[in-house]
């Protein structure tokens, strides 16, 4: 194992006091990465006067074994192995003097596998995003990407159902699935709520969905919602001959209560339950194990993620959440629409989708993917595209997102001028006609609007939908985009 020349050795290293992290052994530019190492890449903004190498070493130190001062008890351990090693620091393109942004660096850090408990996102994250984000040596810090070694992945269950089995169970292949969130998201009684579910499913959607903050409130308690919604689901299934579902949000104050609600959903014949990201990593893992044991698809709403994933200089990239959630075992996760109302640069979102769906992801800096990742046969997670999308964008959605995705048209179904069934029919027809055209080899990116207009001639719900939303788009500059263009050592 190579060591940095800057590292202090022996007695000198363990003299009481405070020495730079670099000299404590957390900076090792000639470190040889092992296949079993967990790798992390951080975007750092060092405090003034902190050298980038020292800053990276501090991040490595604080996210592994270090404390602020030298401790002799290190010498009782194989401490060289347990120390994370910062092994590479690159300046981030288009930051620093002469730009609008303070100087940032990409710091690459390797962690030995033995630092982590198997099958525990909580343990992994307590190191990687634990104390380190509040450290004074960094002004801001963002976890951009991770490489999870196969050896560690194999300790996780992964998605309870996965894309392939979900499709087999639902008997739906070769096209995106269609869904919608019941609106208004709060205030409907159970009986009125189920009406929306029935209309949309009968009209042609595959799924309906609770919103993230529908749990058990005064206007609608959870059992009432479950009972009415399952009547709606089964009635729509009989009306169409298709398998259909409603994501029952079982999010609650305790895991015990969530499992009780999930059990009730199962007893009613629901094929899918839903949780929110805010329940926490361990609760998510517990629910995933329950879901695998009970033949249930597990939908995850990413409620809360934007508090730490949206700003480019601090927090973490959503692609890392995608990785952790695939390990934690969810089957669905909201991952962006590109064209809708929520944040998203097209290539970054493709990076999230690849992270969820690939069996093997190569390094692709343009998508913000900094590490090659072998997924070790973990099931695939179905990305969900939700928020401000409508039938008139079908060609763009298919172009950007592909066919392994749930397209969720909430307002775009329920707000249809001819009613909810017609709204669902418009979306389903637009989808089928676009899949047909794509498979026929037509250039849907350019011909899409014409393909939809032609279908609208024989499908009046589609005609009315296109007319209603023809000018709706959300064109704002993305706050998060990849920085890779002039990274000299990018391909190293």
């Amino acid at each position: 194992m190579g060591k940095s020349e800057t590292m202090k050795e022996g007695k000198e290293r363990y003299k009481s006091g405070v020495i730079p992290y670099k000299k404590m052994g957390y900076w090792e530019p000639d470190y040889k990465i092992k296949d079993t190492d967990v790798l992390a890449m951080f975007r750092m903004t060092p405090q003034e006067g902190v050298e980038p190498d020292e800053c990276a070493a501090a991040v490595a130190g604080e996210s592994s074994t270090a404390t602020w001062t030298v401790v002799w008890t290190d010498r009782l351990t194989a401490c060289e192995m347990y120390r994370a090693k910062a092994y590479r620091v690159d300046p981030v393109p288009n930051t620093g003097p002469g730009t609008k942004t303070e100087q940032q660096y990409f710091a690459y850090i390797a962690y030995d596998l033995d630092l982590f408990e198997g099958n525990s996102i909580a343990n992994l994250t307590a190191s990687i995003i634990g104390n380190v984000f509040g450290m004074k040596a960094v002004k801001a810090l963002r976890l951009e990407d991770m490489r999870i070694p196969v050896a560690y992945l194999k300790t996780f269950q992964g998605p309870a159902t996965g894309v392939i089995v979900e499709r087999e169970r639902m008997d739906k292949f070769g096209r995106p699935l269609l869904g919608a969130t019941t609106k208004p998201k709060l205030g409907l009684s159970g009986r009125n709520y189920g009406r929306v579910v029935y209309e949309a499913l009968k009209g042609g959607l595959d799924f309906m969905k609770d919103d993230e903050n529908i749990n058990s409130q005064a206007f609608m308690h959870w059992r009432d919602r479950f009972l009415y919604c399952m009547d709606a689901v089964n009635k729509a299934s009989a009306a169409t001959g298709e398998v259909k579902g409603h994501y029952m949000n079982v999010t609650a104050g305790t895991v015990e209560e969530m499992i009780a609600r999930a059990e009730f959903a199962k007893s009613l014949g629901s094929i899918i339950v839903m949780i929110d990201l805010v329940i926490g990593y361990s609760a998510i893992q517990s629910m995933a194990i329950w879901a695998r044991k009970n033949d249930m698809i597990l939908h995850l709403h990413r409620a809360g993620n934007s508090t730490y994933s949206r700003q480019k200089n601090h927090g973490m990239s959503f692609r890392v959440i995608c990785k952790w959630m695939r390990m934690a075992g969810v089957d669905h996760i909201h991952a962006g629409t590109v064209v809708g109302k929520l944040e998203g640069d097209p290539l970054m979102i493709r990076g999230y989708y690849d992270t969820l769906l690939d069996t093997h992801t190569p390094m692709q800096l343009e998508k913000g993917i900094f590490f090659e990742q072998d997924w070790a046969s973990l099931n695939k997670v179905m990305p969900v595209a939700s928020g401000g999308i409508h039938a008139g964008q079908m060609h763009q959605l298919l172009h950007y997102l592909g066919e392994d995705v749930v397209l969720q048209f909430g307002g775009g179904t329920i707000g249809h001028p001819m009613g909810i069934q017609a709204g669902a029919t418009a979306n389903r027809t637009a989808l089928e006609v676009m899949i047909q055209a794509r498979n026929e080899g037509r250039d849907i990116w350019n011909e899409g609007p014409q393909i939809l207009a032609d279908a609208a001639k024989w499908c009046s719900p589609l005609k009315a939908g296109l007319e209603t939303w023809k000018d709706i788009s959300f064109n704002y500059e993305s706050t998060d985009s990849p920085d890779f263009v002039s990274t000299a050592t990018a391909s190293a």
């Binding site: 499709r167 008997d171 042609g204 298709e242 007893s267 069934q421 089928e432 047909q436």
Partner: protein, 144 residues
């Protein structure tokens, strides 16, 4: 009669579109072949949403790469079972998929009576649901 859009069973990729012509079916066959997928023709007179195993009209055509030949199988099946549901499915053997990749209906009965929902009231407000196909009250082969 079914009361949903199109008054028909809407399984498969293209049930919301007008029935595909032979030329349109051929275009889909070509797409599947270009992906390296094997095609298969299956038929049934029990279109229950959870009836997974429709009868195979011969084995999946792993080695047939001629779109016209595959369309001929579709049409032979239609001749034999003019009043059954017939679907064309494709299979990918690629690692990480190894499953069905397309599936769409290419033939259906003239009249589709659809399904009833049987509600069995049990404890409290609990209901057990059964989706019942009206056609399956008759024996196989005499349903449509």
């Amino acid at each position: 009669m079914m009361t949903n859009h199109g008054n028909r069973v809407t399984q498969g990729q293209f049930s919301f579109l007008p029935d595909l012509t032979d030329a349109q079916i051929t275009a889909q066959i070509k797409y599947a072949l270009s992906k390296g997928w094997a095609l298969s023709v299956e038929y049934t007179d029990d279109p229950h949403p959870r009836n997974t195993y429709w009868e195979m009209y011969g084995m999946p055509m792993f080695d047939l790469k001629d779109p016209a030949g595959i369309l001929m199988e579709v049409n032979n099946c239609r001749k034999t079972f003019p009043n059954h549901y017939i679907r064309l499915s494709t299979f990918s053997s690629v690692r990480g998929v190894e499953s069905v990749t397309m599936s769409f209906i290419v033939n259906r009965p003239k009249k589709e009576p659809g399904f009833g929902l049987v509600r069995q009231e049990t404890d409290g407000r609990m209901i057990r649901y059964t989706i019942h196909s009206y056609a399956t009250d008759k024996p196989e082969g005499e349903r449509y």
